[in-house]
């Protein structure tokens, strides 16, 4: 946590600011499953409540739906509760969200779903605002960390006033932005849990759901008619009776980006309408703004939410009219060009040229290929993938979401769909091939955290339906990809306390798998033998599981027994270590048919000794 530097102000990460916002608003329960860009919210919440001795509960849940349901239950007892996740995590909780909007809540219930325009580390660029429209849950769209704090407070008030779940969707540039923020006091909430039974609501049967749907629609209509909810967040800047040739509508991060560019370029007089509370959408305000402008550009991320709503309005342009690309982050330089073209079209006045064309050409020439992400030197997954690939050269490799997705560089990952799909797609591939009488070896990989998140249902299904597949659970004892959160296998809780430990092997056996082997992938010959043993079990039993157990070397660096590695004259420069094993610590020596080891990168795991065909690598 940053130090308090000047009295009352402190630089905070957006996610830390939101944790603070939750505690300022009196949130008593927070549940989450880690996912970039949301992962730092819960740890910051834990840290703050400890620093200020606040009685609040926080947990890493096993997945997002579980996080949602846990927090939701707390909100039904009258407490203020929240869950947080990344945008694709909300898909996992979507079933609950849809229903919770109908049932409503008692205490305040806020869902923070962090979007990833770009996408920087996500499977899809989906827009949580559209999810909020789908679920009929009101949404706030902060532009800055500081605004996120205020929106969280408003969201709790709204949620309690209307007894509705409310969504706050910060984008990655809010989550991972840092801003100096005025610190206010935090205080414990004394509210006691008090669940009032009302099965007609909390366990409503379909007939009553219809009534609840009607009620929800009424609540939404009310919210729009009460401007106080969006006060300061939805702003129509053109005064009554005035008219403009060009106007811009924006929300969230694009709003401040547009403002900065226009102010910078000295055209601050072009009106920009801010939509910080996009749902229920401010129909009247939007119409009013559009009527006061001849041409309107809608700038939003990631979807075309506002544009969808404004579709039939003449003079409105944006993504659907080709003025803005349909995908990707609206980074400032891209936005600059977009705004310039729009202002040229509407006013005949483009922004000043950003760069001299001859310089632009020079830049094109120096641009290197982007660095592709690789597994860390010494990563246990690399050793496991190498052995898997060698044992099953012809298999279909299904995999999952985590660091180990990068096993695709080693040719041992063919598919990545969503959390848990490493297992479910493997059985799907089996059934598809089996139908044709043409069985292929199928090897699935999944991480420990992901397996707890959503592996079990697929595994049970595979056993039940007699699939034939080998599942390798890459157990590195941590959720590495999102910044080292503990897993149920460790039995360490979000606040560092001791939790119930759930050994992987027992879960796997509970799913109906008989052959469950565990081996350390650093022991390459032993691990390969375990793979062979597992292969036989697949023949016999259908589904077998091999747990590849070795701690992430970044999280547990101190546990590594480091060896100094040497390359002997036997090296013939075949480059297997560079290309197939893909260890970043190896590099070809320019002009020689040999490789060398970059000492600053090598962690001395010694796995490479077993992979070099000429035996040229040895521990010194």
């Amino acid at each position: 946590m940053p130090n308090v530097e000047s009295p009352g102000r402190r630089v905070m990460l957006g996610n830390e600011a939101m944790a603070r916002g939750l505690l300022e608003a009196g949130c008593q329960v927070l549940c989450s499953y880690p996912g970039t860009p949301s992962s730092e919210i819960l740890p910051a919440f834990v840290q703050l409540k400890r620093e200020h001795d606040i009685d609040a509960y926080a947990e890493w849940s096993v997945n997002e739906k579980v996080a949602f349901d846990n927090a939701y239950a707390a909100a039904l007892t009258g407490k203020r509760a929240a869950c947080c996740m990344k945008q694709v995590g909300l898909n996992v909780a979507c079933d609950s969200l849809m229903s919770a909007a109908y049932l409503g809540c008692v205490g305040g219930f806020v869902v923070i779903s962090c979007d990833d325009p770009g996408p920087h580390s996500s499977q899809t660029e989906q827009d949580t605002r559209l999810m909020s429209l789908f679920a009929k849950a009101p949404a706030f769209d902060p532009s800055t960390p500081e605004e996120a704090i205020r929106m969280i407070a408003r969201a709790f008030e709204l949620s309690e006033a209307k007894r509705l779940p409310v969504i706050v969707r910060p984008a990655i540039r809010v989550c991972h932005a840092k801003q100096d923020i005025v610190q206010t006091r935090l205080a414990s909430q004394p509210r006691k849990a008090d669940f009032q039974k009302d099965p007609r609501r909390w366990a409503a049967t379909p007939k009553f759901r219809y009534v609840l749907h009607e009620e929800l629609n009424r609540k939404l209509a009310q919210i729009v008619s009460e401007p106080k909810w969006a006060d300061g967040f939805n702003v129509q800047p053109i005064p009554d009776g005035e008219h403009r040739r060009a106007g811009i509508i924006a929300g969230g991060v694009p709003f401040v980006a547009v403002r900065d560019i226009l102010d910078d370029a000295g055209v601050g007089s072009v009106p920009v309408m801010k939509v910080g509370m996009p749902n229920p959408y401010p129909r009247a305000l939007l119409s009013d703004f559009c009527e006061r402008c001849d041409k309107v550009l809608v700038v939003e991320e990631t979807g075309a939410f506002l544009e969808l709503i404004l579709e039939s309005k003449p003079g409105v342009c944006g993504r659907n009219t080709g003025h803005i690309p349909q995908e990707g982050e609206l980074v400032p330089e891209l936005l600059y060009g977009i705004l310039s073209r729009f202002l040229d079209e509407a006013l005949g006045q483009p922004l000043p040229r950003a760069m001299d064309p001859s310089l632009e050409k020079l830049l094109e020439e120096v641009k290197p290929a982007p660095r592709r992400p690789t597994l860390c030197p010494g990563c246990p997954h690399r050793a496991a993938f190498f052995a898997i690939r060698r044992r099953f050269p012809k298999a279909v490799f299904t995999s999952d979401i985590g660091c180990y997705t990068l096993g695709l560089n080693l040719g041992a990952v063919d598919t990545v769909l969503d959390m848990g799909a490493g297992v479910t797609m493997a059985s799907g591939f089996y059934q598809a091939y089996h139908q044709d009488g043409n069985d292929r070896p199928i090897v699935a990989t999944i991480g420990d955290s992901t397996f707890y998140h959503s592996g079990t249902a697929g595994l049970m299904n595979a056993v039940y339906n007699r699939a034939r597949m080998l599942l390798v659970i890459l157990d590195n004892k941590i959720t590495a990809m999102t910044g080292m959160q503990p897993t149920p296998g460790l039995g360490i809780r979000a606040d560092g306390g001791v939790g119930g430990r759930i050994p992987l092997e027992r879960v796997v056996r509970g799913c109906g798998v008989d052959t469950v082997l565990t081996h350390d992938p650093y022991d390459v010959p032993g691990f390969s033998a375990a793979l062979a043993q597992a292969e036989e079990a697949v023949e016999r039993e259908g589904v077998a599981v091999l747990i590849s157990e070795h701690p992430c070397i970044i999280a547990y660096r101190d546990q590594l027994e480091s060896k100094r590695m040497n390359i002997t004259d036997a090296c013939d420069g075949c480059l297997l270590c560079v290309k197939r094993f893909e260890c970043p610590a190896f590099e070809p020596i320019p002009g020689e048919k040999k490789v060398r080891i970059r000492e600053t990168l090598c962690v001395g795991c010694g796995v490479c000794v077993h992979i070099c065909p000429t035996g040229a690598i040895e521990a010194a």
Binding site: V11, T144, R259, E333, M355, C403
Partner: protein, 188 residues
């Protein structure tokens, strides 16, 4: 006063730590600060970029062509980030020497025009037996070169506050040696 800086390098070079020192030092001098960081793939040796904005702006990203200064911890990352520099800006780069740069890059900097300062901070750090302090040396070196809106003393203070115990003295020493190399003998 508005200033924009971009820091670039690869995972493991302590760029996020330097970013933190910068924003705390900025805050200490009483300015508003906005930062945007890369998280996620950072540990896996990928590119790490952070944007530091000082002043009245509201959006966290620096626009290409508007950075006052560029602080590059790994010479290979300069081509990736050079487009952020504004005419009249300056770049400080950790690398063996400027002669090895691609021709187009030097040409680009000359035409912009922008200043380039190259310092082999990694080698200096290695020679002093503290290889992990290259980032501190580079930071010290850049304080005057990049016209940061704070004093050397403010940075020194911040480094002292933020460094963990066994590394504190090492960090301060590295910072001072970098500063000496960078201040052209005018001060200290």
């Amino acid at each position: 006063m508005n200033r924009n800086y971009v820091l670039a390098g690869v995972g493991g070079q302590g760029i996020l730590f330097i970013t933190r020192i910068l924003h705390d030092a900025v805050l200490k001098e009483g300015h508003h600060v906005l930062v945007s960081e890369t998280h996620g793939m950072a540990q896996r040796g990928g590119s790490v970029v952070s944007h530091v904005r000082v002043g009245s702006m509201q959006s966290p990203l620096v626009r290409a062509g508007t950075a006052d200064g560029l602080l590059v911890f790994e010479a290979d990352e300069l081509p990736n980030t050079v487009s952020f520099l504004k005419p009249g800006g300056a770049a400080v780069v950790n690398g063996p020497d400027s002669a090895r740069m691609p021709f187009q890059l030097s040409e680009y900097l000359k035409q912009l025009p922008a200043e380039l300062h190259v310092l082999d901070a990694s080698r200096i750090a290695l020679e002093t037996g503290a290889p992990l302090t290259a980032n501190m040396i580079l930071l010290g070196f850049s304080i005057e070169r990049l016209a940061f809106p704070f004093s050397y003393e403010a940075v020194e203070d911040t480094v002292r506050n933020l460094s963990r115990e066994p590394y504190r003295e090492q960090n301060l020493k590295a910072l001072a040696s970098g500063y000496e190399a960078g201040s052209l003998g005018e001060k200290r």
